[in-house]
Symmetry: C2
């Protein structure tokens, strides 16, 4: 086992790379935009960005690239090292990202894993789920990623695709999703869902103060809503309550199916978990079947927020390189 | 281990009791209406019916009640022997059915289990899931019951409540469910869902032939639709296609969450699985995220149909009495 590893979390919007010590200390970080909306899905653009992040961190820390194991958390179905299906990373859907990146970096130490699984691994090893062997990781980013832990182990399912909780349909024939489906949970309760709800509220005239601040309904962003909700602006709080309701709805489904008791909420949107989780907890009492007959259900903010996935990707690099 | 056991499956409409040999042969059966819509939920009415079924089977087979282990499959959350929450069996919700029945029968050999779990156990031991150690049991009855198998074992979750798949919300703010929620899967894809869709179709004028046959829109039953669909009546086939679509929608959610590959479809509605499963299989190709990136997903009719639960309840009796 080496002393340090690099973990990269490739989201639908940004890629975050961390250089992490074996005890979980973060030694450095680098960030880049994820290429997307490319006509080609050959993965070249995406892996070039990832290689740049790894090289940048290695250069900064005076390390040779081939000496540092690299873990990559990817947003989609990983099969035989290939990113078999990635609705939020069309520019690399179908590509063998691990092999391509290994070749670009001339490194034999590149390891890929689903991003939701990475987040669960990171929080279980070093974060909010330390010592909790049964929990569900829910990452609220562009989409919703997930990782299921049972008996201290990641639940992988038949092909390693388990935990794609963001594509659970919660509103039949609802909002269109990049996965090709409609009404997926991540269309309602993620950062992307916040954005979508913001647009809808603005157009419906339900955000009059915010629209008057930014000038027109089309320009109100999710960040404007979270900032205003933090200040207590009523119209923004109402919208965040709705995000909390949708979050609770999907969690209630996972409780019904898995009888899970602990949920760790991470991802970019978790930075405003104080605006969402209290409502989600309240709505759970109505939305969980037989709520009163069950032991308490805990929703905990992740320790690493938008960094959980990169932390877990570094852990994957440590473990597979051992 | 005794040579025979009695398994009782308590549905929302009927209770079915089977006397089963240790090798899975069914030696006899008895059926009764389930008491429901009672103001009291003390379980007295329900356990009296169950005791009658057990006594009837024992008398017919010249057995002493106390010598025969009895397994009861109950539609709801089982906790510490108590039926902690049972939306489809309000007359016993909250009651300690096992203890009450043991006292009524003066038998120390009464064992309770969730009905969906029973169905999964029965099909895994003797039926369509024999030799398949990872599968999801889906029982289409008054509601939808479920049982999850992984590595040859029932997945129980934190309190033994896992597999309550019928109360996964697939249509936010949709049809009201006896569980107190709205838009639960079982409001769309179960026998009860067929009934509800039939009423809706009839009222909307989408079942003109069937309405003219029975006289008025309020009198068309689910059975009329399945019979007419078997004959190939277009309007009935359209409705069964919709049931198949809803079935596929929930299964697609379970695939996303669990990465399950095998589904065994049982329960009363499975008697017309030929009218539903072909459509469900077809819709899965659209509804499963990344369908083409995954190995094939199988939907198999159960071997025991509406008897799976009672078979599994008998298995529970054998195993816990051993």
């Amino acid at each position: 086992m080496t002393d340090v590893a690099i973990g990269v979390d490739v989201g639908g919007t940004k890629a975050l790379a961390l250089i992490v010590a074996v005890d979980g200390r973060v030694l450095g970080e680098a960030l880049a935009d994820t290429p997307h909306n490319f006509a080609e899905s050959d993965g070249v653009a995406a892996t070039t960005v990832l290689a740049g992040l790894v090289e940048e961190l290695c250069a900064r820390h005076s390390l040779r690239v081939r000496d540092v194991p690299v873990g990559i958390g990817l947003p989609g179905l990983m099969r035989d090292g290939r990113l078999a299906f990635a609705p939020n990373l069309q520019s690399a859907s179908g590509a063998n990202v691990g092999t391509m990146l290994g070749e670009l970096l001339a490194s034999p130490h590149v390891y890929c894993e689903n991003d939701g699984n990475c987040a669960a691994l990171g929080e279980h090893q070093w974060g909010a789920a330390r010592g909790i062997d049964d929990f569900v990781m829910v990452t609220l980013g562009t989409g919703i990623g997930g990782g299921l832990f049972a008996d201290g182990q990641l639940v992988r399912g038949r092909s390693g695709f388990a935990g794609e909780i963001g594509h659970m349909v919660v509103k039949a024939r609802g909002a269109a999703c990049p996965c090709g489906g409609r009404g997926c949970w991540e269309r309602y309760a993620s950062g992307g869902g916040l954005h979508r709800l913001t647009r809808a509220y603005a157009v419906e005239g339900r955000l009059p103060t915010l629209v008057s601040r930014v000038g027109d309904a089309g320009s109100v962003r999710g960040e404007d809503v979270t900032a205003a909700a933090t200040e207590g602006l009523g119209e923004a709080v109402v919208l965040m309550k709705e995000v909390g309701w949708w979050l609770a709805l999907g969690i209630a489904n996972l409780v019904a199916i898995l009888d899970a008791g602990h949920f760790v909420i991470g991802g970019g949107l978790s930075s405003c978990s104080g605006l969402v989780l209290p409502w989600a907890r309240e709505y759970l009492t109505d939305l969980v079947e037989g709520y009163g007959a069950r032991p308490a259900i805990t929703l905990t903010p992740s320790m690493f927020g938008p960094r959980s996935g990169a932390m877990g990707a570094a852990l994957v690099a440590f473990e597979r390189n051992a």
